[in-house]
Amino acid sequence: MSSIVVPKLKAKKKLSAVDRKRRRSELWRRIKRNKMIYLMILPGIIYFLVYRYLPMYGLIISFQDYKPYLGITGSPWVGFTHFERLFTSPEFWTIFRNTLTLFALQIFVYFPIPIIISLMLNEVRHSLYKRGIQTLIYIPHFMSWVVIVSISFVMLTLDGGIINSVLESLGFAKINFLMSAEWFRPIYIIQVIWREAGWGTIVFLAAITAVDPQLYEAAKIDGANRFRQIWHITLPAIRSVIIVLLILKIGNVLELGFEHVYLLLNASNRNVGEIFDTYVYVAGLQQGQFSYSAAVGFFKGVVGLIMVVIANRLAKAFNEEGIY
């Protein structure tokens, strides 16, 4: 795909004991030398410990029949009962399929769009115009899902919504966008693009500005047109950024936006719209099945972890850096 050849990484060598010792003392030396920087990373570490690692203690309840007044220490253990119930429930495969479908839409439909937009923006000559557009497309990111979904609702409703009114006046039949299984996914992904695509361009645009302008000049002299320049210079230059972002995105595989999906769900699209997040919410918080929904959440987390590991391996296989 790219014309830049990256040299193959050498296989890791086993380190001898002496080497390891030397390395450790060197690490300490570096930490001491840069203690200010390590101090600055401390709040981040504390954040992760407190908000990401400590709560994992709560996963215990997915193996219990958790009763709030008995607490984690007092609730009876039930082993894998809740997991069995999840895997044997008829809803499980529906939810699993829905989750993966929305995830696939995120990766294959949404993900390329910010890249395309940033390439297009990069080609815009007039800087005021370019910055104007950038600002405009950032705006939806700052609106909450409630606002986005409400605006869509007002536009799409059968009872006086503008889109259906236009369709009707043009002689087409009205389309029941809101209450249909077929339209759920298109509406979902369009709303995601609407809200996030502009914001998603930031990182790519930053990466593009880092490209050495000399490369473009050289390419021009060689007779490359604009399209060729994008293909052979810009894209390869931001390749590693794209891959890192893709891995991060995959890590969020099951974070499909609880709020968003929950707002869109109704009687007619639940079959294609119910995902793990909404299921956990309904089962756990609305119906009070704490242990069961913890089990569902646990399972979701494990799937996410597996996906990240796979994606990272793949990235390394393509000689990219990966995220760890």
Partner: protein, 514 residues
């Protein structure tokens, strides 16, 4: 050069971090100060009393968009020598907050439950002894004893009482319609489901607002099969209320032909465009808006809402005329209307926060005082001559609904009992349809369809009832929208049965025959 630049950036970041930390600190310090100041004021207020005011927290439903001002609460506090903190939770997500608070063991001393289904969810915890049983204490409280026995019996768990109830008329369901439209079209209030259908048709097709264009529809409904239109119309068709008896066996309402007829009826209304096309995803606000702005002519729900609907509608169209109506016969020639078990809300007292009997007695003492006219009139109507005036021994609220919403109405959520038992003023209504709706509530009591499972217990229903109900709710909507046929609906019922529904039927019937 490079190094100093780095140092500068790092220094800058530290300063910023320090500022953030300081800001946080300041904030908490200043809010402490405010609280401290309040405490002082309050202790001065009650300085003359011999006893310290008793402080406790109530969790209650908030039906207005904003948390109310404390003017009324302060009056109540003074009368009862208490210091009450109310955790207002928006009614829309009350269940979540209730469950979250329960799961994290942070329920306050007095907890309102929202409704019957949340009460059922808590049954397990009640049986486990997580809440105070009240029977042994009630005889010490003169006013609490006035609470109606038959309603209390509906809230008993294994024969024991754990709650104080908030009374509601047994059935407030009926229709609110545009009288001016009906008059123009020469229509009387509908007394049969056929006449009702005709009214919905005429309001849609016969240009009731004389605009010359086709811009109205009949019924405005919302995403709620129970408190929206569906259940009330189902009652007209004589569908049982949640559960009904057939050949000596209790079965859920959706296994009855009447339920199916109701769905057919709605399907016809929907197909013809006599009801808002997106009603399964329409919110209550939007539903009422269609009625208020003159798009729709019929509203089915609590007839008491006629006042608030009218006061908004008249600002849009000063000529609007409304009326209320209850009696609509189904094909069998009988009118029926579903009823609630006499309470709207319940309040319970968790043992986790009310640690001692002494504390419980104090809280019950508060509710005992609440059940006197002096205190309850504050909670329900506000301050006399500010929020309401008394005419013929009845309370007439002032016209300023915004003021009432801000200062009074939310506190109605902590009422216990009803006017009959707590002695507060009944309402005086100068708006005629509202007065009529009060009469119709009483008229409805002659036609009640009761839920036979109220005193019964099913473990599966407690655990899975809400989840299973979704299967049926979804299928009902899909049938009305024409997305599934009868076979599809039957399949949903089978699905309901196989996922635990059959067990619920068995458990209820076992209880029922005993």
């Amino acid at each position: 050069m490079m190094l100093s630049c780095r140092k500068f950036v790092m220094g800058l970041m530290f300063v910023m971090l320090a500022m953030i930390l300081l800001a946080c600190n300041n904030e908490s310090a200043s809010s402490d100060e405010v609280e401290g100041g309040n405490d002082e004021d309050q202790s001065m207020d009650v300085g003359e009393e011999d006893q310290e005011p008793f402080a406790f927290t109530i969790m209650a439903n908030l039906h207005t968009p904003e948390v109310p001002a404390e003017t009324v609460l302060e009056e109540i506090e003074q009368l009862t020598n208490t210091e009450i903190e109310i955790q207002w939770v928006p009614d829309n997500n009350y269940e979540d907050r209730l469950n979250t608070a329960f799961a994290t063991n942070t329920l306050p001393e007095a907890v309102f439950l929202k409704n019957q289904s949340t009460f059922i969810q808590f049954r397990d915890a009640i049986q486990d002894g997580q809440f105070w049983e009240l029977d042994p204490y009630l005889d010490q409280f003169e006013n609490l004893q006035k609470l109606k026995d038959n309603v209390q019996d509906n809230t008993r768990v294994d024969g024991k009482l754990y709650t104080l109830y908030q009374g509601r008329p047994l059935s407030r369901q009926g229709i609110i319609y545009r009288k001016d439209w009906a008059d123009y079209l020469g229509l009387e209030a509908p007394t049969t489901t056929e006449e009702f259908f005709e009214m919905a048709r005429a309001f849609t097709e016969d240009d009731p607002n004389q605009s010359g264009s086709d811009n109205t529809f009949g019924i405005t409904d919302r995403n709620d099969l129970i408190y929206g239109a569906f259940k009330t119309v189902a009652s007209w068709f004589n569908t049982p209320n949640n559960w009904g008896e057939r050949e000596g066996e209790l079965l859920p309402e959706f296994m009855f032909d009447e339920y199916f007829e109701t769905m057919e009826y709605f399907k016809a209304l929907h197909e013809n465009g006599y009801i808002n096309q997106d009603f399964p995803v329409t919110s209550k606000v939007d539903q009422q808006e269609f009625f208020k702005n003159g798009s729709a002519g019929i509203y089915i729900g609590s007839m008491g809402d006629v006042v608030s609907i009218y006061s908004d509608a008249v600002t849009i169209n000063p000529d609007v005329e409304l009326d209320v109506h209850n009696y609509v016969e189904g094909p069998t020639g009988e009118y029926g209307i579903w009823s609630i078990p006499g309470y709207g809300n319940l309040v319970m007292f968790p043992k986790s926060s009310v640690e001692t009997e002494e504390k419980l007695l104090k809280i019950l003492g508060f509710f005992d005082q609440m059940m006197t006219p002096e205190v309850m009139n504050y909670a329900y109507w506000g301050i006399e001559d500010v929020h309401y005036e008394v005419i013929d021994g009845r309370a007439l609220p002032v016209d300023d609904t915004a003021l009432l919403d801000r200062e009074v109405r939310p506190y109605q959520a902590i009422e216990v009992g009803e006017a009959e038992t707590n002695g507060r003023y009944e309402g005086y209504f100068d708006y005629e349809p509202k007065a009529k709706s009060e009469d119709l509530f009483i008229d409805n009591e002659n036609y009640l369809i009761e839920d036979p499972t109220v005193p019964l217990y099913s473990e599966t229903f407690t655990r899975d009832g809400a989840r299973l109900e979704q299967i049926i709710t979804d299928a009902t909507y899909q049938y009305i929208l024409g997305q599934i046929d009868q076979a599809g609906f039957d399949a949903a019922v089978e699905n309901w049965k196989s996922q635990g529904g059959q067990q619920i039927i068995d458990e209820f019937n076992e209880n029922y025959s005993n």
